[in-house]
């Protein structure tokens, strides 16, 4: 127990000490985005827009489904939120192994790699949300009053994303298989989440299974507070929040405790 408190203290002290490095690493990744590209930040919205267009054709013409708001808005909102998690996961999973020179030679909290990956994705999310606002204006969908609850959803989303990325970054350092497995997992996971279609309506065993996925209440939460005109489903979002914080705590602690092995095992 004493050890646990000491470890937690150390985790936070290190983060406070190295907060400027976190800023610099995030800045680095954003700067590189600009270098030798013409579109720069445009890429942050380009992919979700293309996907929105493709799936709009599929789900309004080929196999029409019913959504509360115009489908492009539904899909773009889902893709934007999903991309925040997915790109954080993708950047985190190889972040330790691709920075082997730093991991084996220089000391600083290694959590900064997945954390800065997350901050970069958060900037992308912010950039993308301007397009979301434009889409809402275009389809004349007014923001719901529950938009004040948006920060709650964002915090839960960020916590869950941090937790998973810490875990996969660490796991990939010890077992390189993780990177390949996780690539498949991320793809399947998107279709098991209500990114492009609502999955909550599904019944049966598959429906029960899908309800265990914490990403669904989070993404549904975004839609509810932005334009659903209703508060998020507190029961499932609450469960997702509880799970997110628990997993973050466990993953971070485990990450911190095995950090000193990274240089030897990489």
């Amino acid at each position: 127990m004493k050890q646990l408190i000491a470890d937690c203290r150390e985790m936070f002290v290190e983060q406070a000490q190295y907060r400027e490095l976190l800023y610099e690493m995030t800045r680095r990744d954003l700067l590189i985005r600009y270098k030798q590209t013409i579109m720069g930040f445009g890429w942050a919205v380009f992919m979700p827009l293309v996907n929105t267009a493709v799936f709009s054709v599929i789900f309004t013409r080929v196999a029409p489904i019913e959504t509360q708001v115009p489908y492009p808005l539904f899909a773009f909102c889902g893709l934007l939120a999903w991309n925040f998690s997915a790109s954080t996961f993708r950047a985190s999973v190889g972040s330790l192994t691709s920075n082997a020179a730093l991991v084996t030679k220089v000391f600083f909290p290694r959590e900064l790699f997945p954390f800065s990956a997350m901050l970069v994705a958060l900037v992308d999310l912010a950039v993308g949300s301007t397009v979301l606002i434009a889409l809402m204006a275009w389809f004349r969908v007014p923001p719901s009053p529950y938009i004040v609850l948006l920060p709650v959803v964002v915090v839960i989303h960020v916590v869950f994303t941090m937790a998973v990325s810490l875990f996969v970054a660490m796991a990939n350092l010890f077992y390189r298989d993780v990177k390949y497995i996780f690539e498949v997992v991320v793809t399947l996971w998107m279709f098991a989440t209500s990114v492009l279609y609502p999955v909550t309506s599904l019944g049966g065993r598959l429906g029960t299974l899908l309800r265990l996925n914490p990403m669904t209440p989070i993404i549904d939460g975004y839609r509810d507070v932005l334009f659903g005109g209703k508060p998020p489903d507190w029961l499932s979002l609450g469960a997702a929040a509880l799970l997110s914080f628990a997993v973050l705590f466990a993953a971070w602690l485990q990450f911190h405790r095995s950090e000193f092995e990274f240089a030897e095992r990489i």
Binding site: Y18, E24, K35, T104, K105, F174, Y175
Partner: protein, 407 residues
């Protein structure tokens, strides 16, 4: 504020030969093994001690040199100090802000400019943004690349890269300094600048641990030296004693064809065995007695003197100086007395002897490191040989026409 200090307290560190179970396929058997056999503090089959029971303490103003052959654990020792790794047993302790001159350009991103990389690398080394901004001009000035500061570092030459890395590291303002063989960067004048910088850190009373293969640098910067050798006990001691041990142990090739019965370096005038440093230009005498354990025809005795950093001071051979060759048969004794003058400047030197087959011009027997000596002297600026200059300086005034005498 507590005194800054670098210390090892009975540190043991083990590594594993070969790979860890790196893919999931190997995880299952590894887990089973771990379950079957409780973790023990002893060595398993594929493990080895890279550091065994190492202790030292470096206080403000002191510099510890860490030397040893490749793979002896020098860099590992520094990694334990920077907390990148944890010791298996014992404690590695650093009090104060660590400046680590290790892998200086590790954080550089090739697409970013020199300016952007200074901020990134500075932050990696633990500098605050304000501090970097304040010292930015100094860093650029030190690296000597003001014209290229807004060029992406991927277009830098490797020398420029290394210079920028060192310049950033040199401005971190550490409480303690760990250095891993990074001073060999850049051209001669930049290296001079690096050593001057280290000197100034030392004068400021910063404890330094310094890993190097450059024995001259070790000899001039350190008072205390830690010698690490694979599979052997560490040796900690004064710089001269440890350097002498290192260079003599390096060359000691035990050759089964001879048994060395005596090998002693003496003062020529008194005949006393050497103890402690000698002044330059001392007359020395090496007494050597060997028993041949095999037939060694046509032998000449070769004398070789080397400085600790590997510089060959002298190589010569008895037969080339007019002495006839010796034919040794099993059981014969060979005694040799070699008198020479050590017209040398400060440094640590080893004496090596070889028996050369004069016909085949090939060393028959190498007897490395039969002795070593330390020359102590502080009056010369640099160099290796004492040439005993005599200065005669005179000034002849030029006749200045039209010079007015003013009172």
């Amino acid at each position: 504020m507590p005194e800054s200090v670098i210390a090892f307290d009975g540190v043991w560190k083990k590594f594993r030969r070969g790979e860890h179970h790196d893919s999931l396929r190997d995880l299952i058997p590894a887990l089973v093994r771990q379950f079957a056999k409780r973790r023990e503090p002893t060595l398993e089959a594929d493990e080895f001690w890279v550091l065994r029971n190492v202790s030292f303490e470096v206080r403000p103003g002191q510099t510890l040199g860490i030397i040893g052959p490749n793979g002896a654990g020098k860099s590992t020792a520094l990694k334990l100090l920077t907390r990148i790794m944890k010791p298996t047993r014992g404690t590695a302790r650093v009090q104060g802000r660590v400046g680590a001159l290790i892998e200086l350009a590790a954080g550089f991103h090739p697409d970013l400019t020199g300016r952007e990389n200074i901020f990134l690398q500075g932050a990696i080394m633990g500098m605050k943004r304000d501090a970097i901004r304040r010292r930015f001009d100094e860093i650029v000035e030190f690296a000597g690349i003001p014209d290229f500061i807004d060029t992406p570092v991927k277009r830098y030459s490797s020398g420029m890269n290394a210079r920028l890395g060192f310049a950033i590291a040199a401005h971190v303002d550490p409480d303690v300094l760990l250095i891993d063989e990074v001073l060999a960067v850049g051209d001669f004048s930049f290296q001079q600048k690096c050593y001057e910088r280290l000197e100034s850190f030392r004068r400021d009373g910063i404890p330094i641990a310094f890993v190097s293969h450059n024995m001259q640098a070790i000899a001039s910067l350190c008072e205390q030296v830690l010698l690490l050798r694979p599979g052997q006990e560490p040796v900690l001691g004064g710089v001269n004693a440890v350097l002498a041990e290192y260079v003599s142990s390096k060359g000691s090739l035990a050759d089964a064809r001879v048994t060395v019965l005596e090998a002693t370096l003496r003062h020529r005038d008194t005949g006393a065995a050497l103890a402690g440093p000698i002044p330059p230009c001392a007359e020395l005498q090496l007494d050597l007695e060997l028993r041949a354990e095999a037939n060694l025809p046509r032998c000449g005795v070769m004398l070789n003197i080397m400085r600790a950093d590997g510089l060959v001071i002298f190589t010569g051979m008895s037969t080339l100086d007019g002495l006839s060759e010796s034919h040794l048969q099993t059981g014969d004794h060979l005694t040799a007395r070699i008198v020479f003058s050590a017209n040398l400047l400060r440094g640590t030197y080893t004496v090596n002897i070889q028996l050369i087959d004069t016909l085949r011009q090939w060393p028959a027997v190498i007897i490395g490191g039969v002795g070593s000596f330390v020359v102590a002297e502080t009056t010369r600026i640099a160099g290796c040989a004492e040439v005993l200059p005599l200065y005669e300086v005179a000034v002849a005034r030029a006749v200045r026409s039209g010079a007015k005498v003013t009172l």
